[in-house]
Amino acid sequence: MATIEVPDTGYYEYLPLVLKQYLDSRLPSDVVVATQVPKEIPPRLVTLLSVPSGGTGPSLALSQRRCIIQCRDRSEILTGRLAEKVRGYLVDAIRLPGNGIRDVTVIGEPAIFLDPDDPSNAPRAQLTVDILLRATFAQ
């Protein structure tokens, strides 16, 4: 992650970026992880959308963030399996030191959630996670 100037009071890295870097290191190389749906949709795609979360974390250094994750693959079953894989890797994320992820709560379990604007009804699975993030402080 690029080094940036951070305020003394702490800086929380943008959650979709944190998750993108983590998932990129775990998922197969043909799965595209993006923060927005690209114009040309690749066959295997995971998109990360940051949404508002309620209360703050238990301390100055910890804060809660919420993220909606949508997965697409070639068929309904593959899509469902990709979403479950993503879920598993995310729950496992707290074991990897240095990524800033301190806790993961899956508040919306993976399920098929079709896009009403997609005329082909291409399968799309969705899960929602709450992540407790650790802030970075100025050295």
Binding site: G54, I68, L114, D115, P116
Partner: protein, 142 residues
């Protein structure tokens, strides 16, 4: 010598307590979510009125399949736009708060939920994740 005691819960009073808590604390919070979601549906419907239908008469499609896909997308968009102007039935709203639980109550049974009632609300939620986007409003503002 040890004595055995039986503790009996007053089940009806317990149910009344849980019901009271849900009605007093959970329902107003769920109403906040529903209000925000309803505002979103109306705003989206108003926005779709201002958007002209896309004109692709000059578009050249490489294959017939591309043309069929584009036509299907247009038909879907037209249908969604039409649905977005169908008002909810009398006495209903697009997103509503529902309170439910069996009788007698089981653990975690009695709850307040926000539900998408109308088709346009269901489409709106699938398109924009409106319920999850507004879920933080249930935190009570603290």
């Amino acid at each position: 010598m040890a004595k055995a005691y039986n503790i009996k819960f007053h089940a009806e009073a317990w149910d009344e307590l849980v019901t009271g808590v849900v009605q007093k604390w959970a329902v107003p919070r769920a109403e906040e979510i529903a209000d925000a979601c309803n505002e979103h549906v109306l705003a989206e419907a108003a926005k779709s009125l201002q958007e002209p239908e896309s004109d692709d008469s000059a578009t050249v499609y490489r294959t017939n399949a591309d043309r069929v896909r584009a036509d299907m997308a247009k038909a879907r968009a037209r249908a969604n736009r039409r649905i977005s102007h169908i008002e909810p039935p009398e006495g209903k709203r697009d997103y509503m708060v529902s309170v439910e639980g069996s009788n007698p109550l089981n653990l975690k049974d009695y709850r307040a939920t926000v539900i998408a009632v109308t088709d346009r609300a269901k489409i709106d939620n699938a398109r924009s994740n409106t319920l999850v986007q507004n879920f933080h409003l249930a935190s009570g503002g603290d």
